[in-house]
Amino acid sequence: MHVQTYAPMFMLFVAATAIATLFFTLATVLGPSKPSAEKSLPFECGSDSDGAQHVRLSVKFYLTAILFVVFDIESVFVYPWAIQFRSLGWMGLASMMGFLLVILVGLVYAWKKGALEWET
């Protein structure tokens, strides 16, 4: 267990930079680039693709996704608390209730702001 021996790490720093740069350059310099109409078509398991290339997604999806990510990730704190529920005792419970209260205020805020409305 030699945490202090970092020499290989720095070599890797250098190597990673060099390799990444090398590949970027090689790909652009050496890569044969002969685009044709056929090649530029998106490949969809052999069947002809149709429709617009960029499907317009409703902005509602982004909003919901952002809200989901934020509230979902908060569970990262709840899980270790649940594992240690007994040993943390009343202080742990009180802290977690305080945390959930703050989350709840956020939820009420998002709700009242209309961020959870799908049909508007």
């Binding site: 202090q4 720095f10 205020v105 805020y109 009242k112």
Partner: protein
């Protein structure tokens, strides 16, 4: 239990106050009271921090239960008062500005309060964990404020650059701290200091970590060459948000810079001129002052000029930070005093700028200021007043701020650095005086759009308070200077 609650009170007040502001915004239709409500919350927090100062952190013995996460010393309390006041003043300016410009959406005040809370946590952080949480709370709020004018491409672009570079900087800094954790096994700042001081760790990872942390912090205080986001974010943001970023976010950045450099990297080897960070920070200071002052003179936009001016002020502050290696107490208190003078001057300047224009007739460039001194002396005078303070003219606050920092640098034997800083403050006079030329000696070109002043009780209150503090710090700096010295003495 009581004293420990008192130590925590400023943060509790702001945290719960901000939650209440959020609920008040959506559950009631109290639109107009939010700015004043925010100011009341933040002034209350400042009052509690003052109370904590009076009692004395040494009597807040129970506050040690928050160790090592939060440290409640005089350093923390000084920044709590400063940040709460800056936040309150910015909120008052926002009250008038947002209404006038038709972007009166209540979330501004909650975000501003949370961001202030983050800056306080940053100043109080005694552990990398709290440091990071505070930094993110402050920065995420600041990104949102910078992009607050959703319909404006400039605002969105400024926010984008600020966000991308800010999170990149945070990632650099955290990798630095992760390396330090790997080398020492500590995430608390005091533990890191002891480990770096006692074990003769000569691992190159410490140097890499120092460089990464320093780069991350330099981004946050917008030191050259990490300043690219500053002019864009400052110009694009609504003016009260710019004032907040220039004062509170910068103060938070310097709080953590001082704490990290003087605590974690305060050991003899890291803080020595030959083997540590001082020459690097000195180079940053020289670059920051010189580049910012030279570029500021070439700006057409007033807000960009003020943005470069704020970068230049960061340069002077960095001179003070370097001086802290030889005269820690004196230089640190000089930096704190400078931050106080700079905060009130810059918020005052932005507040006066808000008052100079109205919707559709904002002051954007120097040209818009032409003849304002003759047409509307009542709004031109405050702007001129705060510009004088930023320029460092006696008897304004800005003069004494510079005076103490330069004196500390001289006493620390940094003669070259002091001379460069002095020359820079002379160069800076050029673009500050240009404001006066346009205000009082030019007439607008025929047919050019002219700025029409607005009226707002909140903005006028903010300006009056800023002017009071500028004169107080300029004519009677004793009380605040003693406070700053008490911080240095204790720390």
């Amino acid at each position: 239990m009581m004293p420990s609650i008192l130590a925590l009170m400023p943060m509790l007040v702001i945290g719960f106050g901000a939650l209440a502001l959020m609920l008040a915004e959506v559950l009631t239709d109290a639109k107009t009271g939010l700015a004043v409500g925010t100011a009341v919350v933040l002034f209350t927090a400042a009052a509690f921090a003052c109370a904590g100062w009076m009692v004395g952190p040494e009597n807040l013995g129970d506050a040690a239960v928050f160790a090592p996460w939060l440290v409640f010393d005089r350093f923390t309390l000084f920044f709590e008062v400063l940040l709460a006041l800056s936040g309150a003043l910015a909120a008052l300016v926002a009250g008038g500005y947002l209404r006038e410009h038709g972007i009166d959406r209540g979330e501004f005040y909650a975000i501003l309060s949370f961001s202030t809370l983050g800056a306080m946590m940053l100043a109080a952080a005694g552990d990398v964990l709290m440091l990071f949480v505070g930094l993110e709370t402050m920065s995420i709020g600041a990104y949102a404020l910078a992009g607050f004018r959703r319909g404006s491409p400039k605002s969105a672009e400024g926010a984008l650059k600020y966000f991308l570079l800010g999170s990149f900087a945070a990632a650099l800094m955290m990798f630095g701290f992760a390396l330090l954790y790997g080398a020492t096994g500590h995430t608390d700042l005091a533990g890191l200091h002891n480990a770096l001081a006692s074990e003769s760790l000569r691992s190159p990872s410490i140097v890499i970590a120092l460089a990464l942390v320093l780069a991350g912090l330099a981004f946050k205080v917008s030191a050259v060459p990490f300043h690219m986001w500053t002019p864009d974010a400052y110009e694009g943001a609504p003016t009260p948000a710019t004032a907040f970023m220039a004062a509170s976010v910068k103060a938070g950045g310097f709080a953590v810079l001082l704490r990290v450099l003087l605590t974690v990297f305060g050991d003899e080897r890291s803080a020595s001129w030959a083997t540590g960070w001082p020459p690097v920070v000195a180079l940053l200071a020289v670059l920051t002052m010189t580049v910012a002052n030279l570029v500021a003179g070439r700006q057409e936009s007033i807000k960009r000029m003020l943005a470069y001016s704020s970068i230049a002020h960061a340069g002077y502050l960095l001179v003070g930070v370097v001086a802290a290696i030889r005269a820690p107490a004196q230089a640190q208190s000089a930096v704190l005093f400078y931050l106080a003078t700079y905060s009130v001057s810059t918020i005052g300047a932005f507040a006066a700028l808000v008052l100079c224009g109205s919707r559709g007739a904002e002051v954007v460039s120097y040209e818009d200021l032409a003849g304002l001194g003759r047409r509307h002396p009542a709004v031109a005078l405050p702007f001129a007043f705060f510009i004088l303070s930023l320029a460092g003219m006696p008897p304004m606050a800005g003069f004494f701020g510079k005076w103490f920092v330069f004196k500390a640098a001289m006493d620390a034997g940094l003669h070259g650095l002091t001379v460069i800083a002095f020359i820079n403050s002379v160069i800076a006079a050029y673009y500050y005086l240009k404001v006066f030329v346009f205000l009082y000696m030019r007439e607008p070109a025929a047919g050019a759009p002219i700025a029409k002043p607005m009226w707002s009780g909140e903005v006028v209150t903010a300006i009056a308070l800023c002017a009071f503090f500028v004169l107080l710090l300029g004519l009677a700096p004793g009380a605040v200077l003693d406070a700053a010295l008490a911080v240095g003495g204790a720390g």
